[in-house]
Amino acid sequence: MRKIKGLAFEYICIGATLTALFLLALLLWDAWDKGAGWLSWRFLDSFPSRFPEQAGIKSALWGSIWLMLLTALISIPLGVGAAIYLEEYADRTWLTRIIEINISNLAGVPSIVYGILGLALFVRWMMLGRSLLAGALTMALLILPIIIISSQEAIRAVPNSIREASYALGATKWQTVKFHVLPAAMPGVLTGNILALSRAMGEAAPLIMIGALTFIAFTPSSPLDPFTALPIQIFNWASRPKAEFQYLAAAGILVLLALLLAMNAAAIIIRNKYQKYIKW
């Protein structure tokens, strides 16, 4: 009896795991099934249109790429700097503790709330309008906690013996960080940053909040240009009842997932490549 109960429990657990995996497969298959036929060079190289067979994601694709670069430019120095401060400089004071609690709390704030902040702060107050820069600033704040936390982990994983060796030679704190801690932590930092950026790549809600959901039939050429992005274009198509637009949404999803996959693959490659050299 005990055995049967145990076996049943095991099967339930396996079943649950398989269900999760099955759902992922189903989700991917559904997008592939509906969208693959609409993927073409023309789709990548055309602007959105009222006519499904002419519509493409050129502006969204370029908007997303611009947005990612700007977001990276803002969030990585800020986030890695914060992580260095918290791991290498900060004394264990109440302020440090508050900053750390605050960061893990921020990581749980819904993305749309960042959108509200972006709308009030960047679009209105700083008068950046519905621009790429406003979007990138909003996204940067959104992924900042993830960047800080993952960079902190990477920095923490650098063994103390390296720091001691550097200090013992008379290096200052910054020299130690710059020449030894950061290079050693770099694979982990990069991996974390890429994953954080891929999170931003898929976010739509904050961008809708700051007003990126408009008809854009050009590619941006400066950070102050209005823009659209892949998840927004997908949302736009998905919210139209006409079947063809649904297929376009699926095709857009395939492009978005392909980009995310590429980013994740890059993160994994970086991790594996550098792990070879660093064994403590």
């Binding site: 004394d91 264990r92 063994p159 013996s161 390296i162 720091r163 001691e164 060796a165 550097s166 200090y167 013992a168 030679l169 008379g170 290096a171 200052t172 020299q175 020449f179 030894h180 290079p183 050693a184 050299y277 660093i278 064994k279």
Partner: protein, 248 residues
């Protein structure tokens, strides 16, 4: 004989835990002083005070004076202090970079002109008796060296910033006997130019290499003196007990 290092009533705490109690001793120039004692007796804490490495630990504090060539270390910038007081650690800790970079790092951060680096690297490696083994692969990653070679590289790295004093914190405890004897030979060579302090829990090692020996117990300096005297005729009962292996 001049004393290179002198401590006066040195006490130290990690938070509330006292690690050293009123240690007063004087270490002579161009000699090897061994510091022995059971684990947790404060010997590592003691030498890590000498180059203020313990400053990096939260909640660490000291009382009393430490004089390096008659200058109180509290009034020396730690960066300057560590330049003249080098350290070699228990576990070899080369930087995960090339052999060359490991040695060049110290001189470079101290503003040495880069065209002199090659000469310094060679000189340091020669002094550390490593040059013949690595001169054809200076650009290889230091992590590929054997443990003993890594430790000698760490010694060369310390030499490259031209210290006056070198502290060894159980430098051979992670090494095999052959590598250990190479390091010991090296230390005997180095004392001609440098003042050496070595923490060890290997009594034979202390007896083999050191001129003076200090015995620590429970954070206190029990006795110190010429190594021969300490090992042959210790004044204190507890020193004798420790040396003949009754505890520790």
């Amino acid at each position: 004989m001049t004393s290179a290092i002198q401590t006066i009533n040195l006490s130290a705490w990690y938070g509330n835990k006292q690690a050293l109690t009123s240690v007063s001793m004087s270490l002579e120039e161009n000699k090897i002083t061994a510091i022995i004692g059971p684990s947790g007796c404060g010997k590592s804490t003691f030498i890590r005070c000498l180059n203020r490495m313990n400053d990096l630990i939260d909640g660490f504090k000291t009382e009393g004076e430490i004089l390096i060539y008659s200058k109180d270390v509290r009034y020396i910038d730690p960066v300057e202090l560590r330049k003249s007081v080098g350290m070699v650690f228990q576990k070899p800790n080369p930087f995960p970079k090339s052999i060359y970079e490991n040695i060049a790092f110290g001189p470079r951060i101290h503003g040495i002109n880069s065209n002199r680096l090659d000469a310094i690297v060679e000189e340091s490696l020669r002094k550390a008796a490593l040059w013949d083994e690595v001169n054809d692969r200076l650009n290889d990653n230091a992590m590929e060296l054997s443990g003993g070679q890594q430790q000698r590289l760490c010694i060369a790295r310390a030499l490259a910033v031209k210290p006056k004093i070198i502290l060894f914190d159980e430098p051979c405890s992670a090494l095999d006997p052959l590598s250990t004897s190479k390091i010991e030979d090296l230390m005997l060579e180095l004392k001609k130019e440098y003042t050496l302090v070595i923490v060890t829990h290997n009594m034979q090692q202390a007896a083999r290499v050191s001129d003076h020996t200090a015995f620590f117990l429970y954070g206190k300096l029990i006795e110190s003196g010429e190594t021969k005297q300490i090992f042959k005729k210790p004044k204190e009962k507890s020193t004798e007990d420790y040396i003949i292996g009754r505890f520790g």
